[in-house]
């Protein structure tokens, strides 16, 4: 450990992540079910990010970014699957976002996924080029 140790390296019984995993899940549920677009997007990002963080911290994966990317992909696939299954094809249009209750929610999920893919991708590339 050449660098400054983080909180969870210094103290064996501490981790900052669980609190944020829980908060992320709570916000995601509120956002998606109540239909609050911004809350859904940010909640999901926090949730996915904390999952990536906690898995890295506990040594299940080496770096957080691929996980973040993966969660993003899963969300987009889920949102797309629901859209194909439940929303009439004719209604799938950007101009309809904000009107159909289901479509709006799915777009929120997909938006969160996109952000996560972007963040995970950019960070991965930056890390690899820096190293």
């Amino acid at each position: 450990m050449a660098e400054e140790p983080g909180l969870s390296d210094q103290y064996p019984t501490a981790s900052p992540w669980p609190l944020f995993v829980a908060l992320g899940l709570a916000l995601s549920e509120i956002g998606v079910f109540v239909g609050l677009f911004p809350v859904a997007v940010f909640g999901l990002i926090l949730f996915g990010g904390s999952i990536a963080g906690i898995l890295t911290e506990s040594g299940y994966v080496e770096r957080p970014w691929p996980t973040l990317l993966g969660v993003g992909v899963v969300l987009i696939v889920l949102a797309a699957a629901f859209a194909v299954w439940q929303v009439p094809v004719a209604d799938i249009a950007l101009s309809n976002v904000g009107t159909g209750p289901l479509l709006t929610r799915l777009v929120a999920v997909a938006a969160a996924g996109t952000v996560m893919i972007a963040m995970g991708g950019v960070a991965s590339i930056m890390e690899q080029t820096a190293a």
Binding site: P12, T13, L19, F20, V34, P38, I45, T56, S58
Partner: protein, 594 residues
């Protein structure tokens, strides 16, 4: 709407940036060294670390230590108990007069709903998790839970769950009653729960869902811990009784809570996305009742089995005898666990279901009384000819047995179809389950708190206050809930804010009298809880320090369990550095620190 969205977006962005900034400050993401299996660090790495935990509030927000999490659960549950208790007092005050003394119908129904959900999901399940988190690892000789981080996640889901469940109360004043507290009762029966347009219901359902996720994560963790983290001296034959009940409870949670979670999601979809799971033209309103009670009946055993385990653990300690028929107590626990999934429709006898099905549910419901009675007889036989010591935890154990008998016997009557058809939806049912949820589960929780108080605080509580707490609780519980049984016989229906009926439903004078008696009992009960809070808070802050690792003198009877041995080691490890004169060969007292 657009302005609202922008504000919300800004708020969320600030929150996210704040979280990210905080995390980069406290965590160095590059420093992670892989450690096997997500467990806590031990061995050589632990050697370079001088302290286990950061200081101050950060410690409590980041802890993954099972003892800290146990305390967090405990504090959370006691706060929820206070909130739920104040709601109960409001209900009782309302009902002193037939016209209702203090609340309107809507307020009454809101408070009734929140009281039930708060007590079952925010007090009952968490207080059990508090004991289990703190003491299961100690009792089975484990370093920690199998998944310490998941343990922490499970706890941190609960504060948002509580805020959501109570959200309507906070939001109604600021949204001009656009969002109100849910008024669905804790059973959330459809079609009522689909038709109430109030978004407060959605928030409450989401809160319940989160609390279910938390319970499920906890259950997985306990199962993994009890299976894999026992030290080599602990095997299935000598596993303690509390761990057995937690293991069984966790299995029940694993089957029951995900089902509740799914049913809640279906309800949310019916409410928000016009699906028809519970609509007449879809699955039908009765589907909800089946799904709910398939969860709901196991839930009552999820709540009562670990308290039974606590009593089975504590009661022998003050009887000077080992638990009578240990094996049969374990078997009856397992039997109840299995049977509890086969009785749910006894909550639906009056819905017009197929009479043959109804009879089979009656048979299984009557059968489940047998393992319950096995336990009761074993507790009584344990005390028989024992050397009883009436300490506060023991008094609460005895109160548990007494109240459980009344609660259980009234349950057997309800399980009989003809009796139930008369008593269903009356105060008799309310009396029945309160004898168990307050008289038994509540009492076992108090027994556990007093019994282990020395371990988790290092201090002793005040005995006289403890006894006052017991007697007020015992007398109050029995007055309140016995009066409810009588009200049920008189025909007083449950869930009414007022009771100015015509005499054909129920005789008004007697009904008023028993309602007033119930309120008097509730006041006594409430005063008892004031003793409790005072005792716990004051003793925690300034009670006498416990110096003996065996404060209950259990060694004498050969009943010192592993958790008190651990406590003893803990005291010994601390003692020399605090007070050098306690060293075995310390000799004379140091003069300068006197």
């Amino acid at each position: 709407m657009v302005a609202g969205d922008i504000v919300l977006t800004g708020l969320m962005a600030v929150l996210l940036v704040g979280v990210a900034a905080l995390l980069t400050r406290v965590e160095n993401w590059r420093s992670y060294t892989p450690l096997a299996g997500g467990g806590a660090v031990t061995g050589d790495e632990a050697a370079v670390i001088n302290r286990e935990k950061p200081a101050g509030i950060i410690r409590w927000l980041t802890t993954v230590d099972h003892k800290d999490i146990g305390l967090l659960y405990g504090v959370y549950a006691v706060i929820a108990f206070a909130v739920g208790g104040i709601m109960a007092m409001l209900i009782r005050l309302q009902l002193v007069t037939p016209a209702g003394a203090i609340l309107g119908n809507n307020a009454y129904n809101s408070i009734l709903t929140s009281h039930g959900i708060t007590m079952l999901f925010l007090f009952g399940t968490p207080i059990i998790a508090a004991f289990a988190n703190y003491f299961i690892p100690l009792l089975i000789g484990a370093d920690d839970m199998a998944f310490p981080r998941i343990n922490a996640i499970a706890f941190w889901l609960l504060p948002p769950a509580a805020l959501l469940i109570w959200a309507g109360f906070f939001l109604a004043p600021v949204t001009e009653n656009m969002i109100e507290p849910a008024r669905t009762a804790w059973t959330m029966y459809t079609p009522l729960s689909v038709e109430q347009a109030n978004p407060g219901v959605d928030l409450m359902l989401l809160g319940l869902h989160l609390s279910g996720v938390a319970a499920t994560m906890g259950a997985i963790n306990f199962i993994a811990t009890i299976f894999t983290e026992r030290n080599e001296e602990v095997n299935w034959a000598n596993l303690d009784i509390f761990s057995w009940t937690i293991l069984t409870q966790s299995a029940l949670i694993l089957f029951a809570f995900p089902l509740l979670g799914s049913a809640i999601v279906m309800l949310l979809l019916d409410r928000n996305l016009s699906t028809t799971f519970f609509a007449v033209e879809g699955g039908g309103p009765l589907l909800w009742q089946h799904l709910f009670w398939f969860f709901g009946h196991p839930e009552v055993y999820i709540l009562v089995l670990p308290p039974m385990g606590l009593v089975s653990l504590i009661l022998p300690k003050f009887s000077g005898r080992k638990l009578f028929g240990f094996k049969f107590v374990v078997y009856s626990t397992l039997a109840i666990g299995v049977l509890s999934f086969g009785v749910w429709a006894h909550h639906m006898f009056s819905t017009g279901m197929d009479p043959r099905l109804r009879a089979s549910f009656m048979a299984v419901s009557l059968a489940i009384a047998i393992p319950s009675a096995v336990k009761t007889f074993n507790w009584i036989t344990t005390m028989w000819n024992g050397r009883l010591r009436l300490t506060t935890p023991m008094l609460f154990c005895i109160g548990f047995v007494s109240n459980f008998i009344i609660g259980g016997v009234t349950g057997v009557f309800l399980a009989s179809i003809p009796v139930d058809l008369i008593l269903h939806d009356t105060y008799y049912v309310v009396g029945h389950f309160h004898y168990i949820v307050m008289g038994a589960i509540g009492f076992a929780a108090f027994a556990g708190i007093y019994y282990w108080f020395p371990i988790f605080t290092g201090r002793m509580y005040q005995r006289t206050l403890g006894k006052a707490h017991f007697w007020f609780s015992m007398v109050g519980t029995n007055i309140t809930f016995f009066a409810m049984l009588a009200l049920g016989y008189l025909g007083m229906p449950r869930r009414y804010a007022t009771y100015e009926f015509d005499g054909a439903i129920a005789p008004l004078t007697q009904v008023s009298t028993f309602h007033q008696a119930a309120t008097v009992g509730a006041v006594i009960l409430f005063i008892g809880q004031l003793f409790f809070v005072w005792n716990i808070v004051q003793s925690w802050l300034e009670g006498p320090k416990v110096e003996d690792g065996d404060p209950w003198n259990l060694e004498r009877d050969g009943m010192l369990d592993r958790e008190f041995q651990w406590f003893d080691e803990q005291l010994e490890a601390e003692a020399p550095e605090k007070d050098p004169s306690l060293l075995a060969d310390g000799g004379e007292e140091e003069q300068d620190d006197s």
